[in-house]
Subunit: 201 residues, 2 copies
Amino acid sequence: MVGLRERKKQRTRRALIEAALRLFEEKGFEETTLAEIAAAADVSTRTFFSYFAAKEDVLFYDTGSRIELAMSLLAGRAPEESPADVLIKLIDGSLQMAAAYEELTFEDAELRMRLILTEPALQAKGLLVLFDTQLQLARALHDAYPDRLSPTEAAAAVGALVGAVKLAIIANLDNCRSLQEIWDTGRRAAEVTLAGLRSLG
Amino acid sequence: MVGLRERKKQRTRRALIEAALRLFEEKGFEETTLAEIAAAADVSTRTFFSYFAAKEDVLFYDTGSRIELAMSLLAGRAPEESPADVLIKLIDGSLQMAAAYEELTFEDAELRMRLILTEPALQAKGLLVLFDTQLQLARALHDAYPDRLSPTEAAAAVGALVGAVKLAIIANLDNCRSLQEIWDTGRRAAEVTLAGLRSLG
DNA sequence: ATGCAAAATTGCAACAGATGAAAAACTTCC
DNA sequence: GGAAGTTTTTCATCTGTTGCAATTTTGCAT
């Protein structure tokens, strides 16, 4: 099942990711060349592209599993849960997963997040990934509640919650001194959105 | 004030934009080369980059004025207007401006929108621009209501509304047969968000 | 272990986007 | 007309990305 071939691929993949992270930290994202990453991972430049479609993608290696998690949370809802309940769980689960650093050291996970938040090319890619995820989620949410939520309402709900949490957290990042504070910011944004913006001010 | 020099620059700028649009339509975004755009606008390839920082930017020529509009709408609020009222006006104003095709024919404006929505590189850039705008808006909203809205609440409000309208409209684009329908979709999303997601389902 | 087929890696060539620098062309203003 | 300043062009160079053919490595059956 997991032969030498597969193990080796995983090792190379990891080596590329870690080499990229280390170099990005040392010299910055734009300043790091693909040739350098490949060399640091002991692989030819060409081979990089059989693992990742583009330079930015080396930092988005777990996009697939994140989407799967979100979808499975939605699929595994209790029969009596309301859309709002499910959405809250989705936000919680996703934030938790974002904070977790599977396969990476804590420092690397943090570095990666910082890079994605500051480097324009990575930011753009991140926003695109998040956007596509939202589209999928909205569709799935409508499918989960075909009678209670129209497609437009499902999309509005997903977009509002994700949009609120995203902007609140990022706008507030500088003031947060711990993961807990970040998480609280997101939670507050989610609550406001569930209660309705009219309840503000 | 408006000498030959200035007029000529505007003409070149316009020529680049229109040449790009025409070529993108004919051959697609990726397939169109910068050299072709420059040639069609009768300038050297290098000159393109003194007008736009990158290939995608040729379709985001009016980002500045869009942000200015949003900011001025916020600045010009009536003293008694609530945050929710102002946000609604912001959404309305922005949608209206998005539908308007200043400087372009209706067909070109439509083509441009379609390109931004379908071409990944343009989509990513569009999301990035929108994101930066939201950050500015959130800050301005907090400054406008320093007592009633915390920075986090302001960010949550902007993120929720924009996120809801954005996702609802795009998720529903295929079903819309007119600008009016698109506008209605966005309005419905905004209402849901103002009322609170709990009111759903 | 040996040989064969499948899969992965490599090297090479080519192209497009982007940037820096200096020469050439054009505007402005006197 | 000519000096001063701005814009455009030309040229060289770098990097990301892709196609292709050659080579190496792995899985597997004998």
